[in-house]
Subunit: 181 residues, 2 copies
């Protein structure tokens, strides 16, 4: 479920053309922006395809990874709230994701002993086996995707992406932590 919605990128000449109408339009900036969105989406698609073939969505995969990470660190529990925060979705969304994962016998909800409002979410053995099953192909796809880049190109790309990402956070902070004035 990518969200780019633009199959064919406008070509550079079109941007130059359009720039005549809109003085604000910087062709090179737009070109970077469009390529960034498109490539991000393509990269997403390459892995999502594999997920879908295994009945996963990006959200479900992320939850499994977060719990798997916990499990590896011996900390066998995680609350829905913590999962939501780390996955970057709302708690309502996390409730829905856990619902379907529980339905598919991938996770269990257990009441917390100390605070009766809280739950603890745990992976089932079935989920552990499933993760071990799909991860190798996941990494293979990532390696394959990045294969055309040399190590030095990879460093350059990460550096340039980092500049843009930092700038993005600067110009529009992820969530303006609503202060109760």
């Amino acid at each position: 479920m990518p969200h780019l919605l633009l199959k064919d990128l406008p070509r550079y000449e079109c941007l130059l053309e359009a720039a005549k109408q809109f003085p604000n339009l910087d062709p090179s900036a737009c070109e970077v922006f469009l390529n960034l969105l498109r490539t991000g989406d393509e990269a997403f698609r390459v892995t999502d395809e594999h997920f879908q073939a295994n009945g996963l969505s990006q959200g479900r995969f992320t939850v499994l990874m977060l719990l798997f990470d916990k499990a590896c660190g011996q900390s066998h529990s995680c609350t829905p709230a913590e999962l939501a925060d780390r996955a970057g979705v709302t708690r309502a969304t996390m409730t829905g994701l856990i619902d379907t994962l529980e339905r598919d016998a991938m996770v269990l909800r257990k009441p917390s002993a100390s605070d009766r409002r809280m739950l603890s979410v745990e992976l089932t053995p079935r989920a552990m086996a499933f993760i071990a099953e799909i991860l190798p192909e996941h990494f293979r796809r990532i390696n394959d995707l990045v294969a055309p880049l040399s190590e030095s190109e990879r460093r350059t790309l990460v550096r340039l992406l980092g500049k843009v990402a930092s700038r993005a956070v600067e110009v529009s902070p992820p969530q303006a932590a609503a202060v109760h004035a």
Copy 2:
């Protein structure tokens, strides 16, 4: 409505740690992949924030842009099927997008004279004014986002992104044009 779902990127040391468990995991490839997804999502967010403030979604904006482009080229009509193809969504999805745009008086559905199966979708004057209103800020945000990059860095970034995007298309073609064997 970004879909990355991972607020905090695993740091490089974590990747190296994880690589011990999974021989397939190439840390530099994963780093590129994660940065690509994250930066794409951040870039998306910067513009989507502006859209949301104006009651638009990415899908609605794309439809308006496609129709606007048509309108500028004097070709005042466009079928839902063509819009769906160019936007990269299914026709069913396009029906839904046109529904809400029509409800908001942004587009009109008109029956086609030549083929009674077809519709023609047109922008309303209200939509034209709306587009002229929001585009300058849209371009301003894009320029702002890319501002930290020099012209030469932009060319490099576009080139490297292009390599990855081409590779993505290669390893998993967008849609395997189902042949009716």
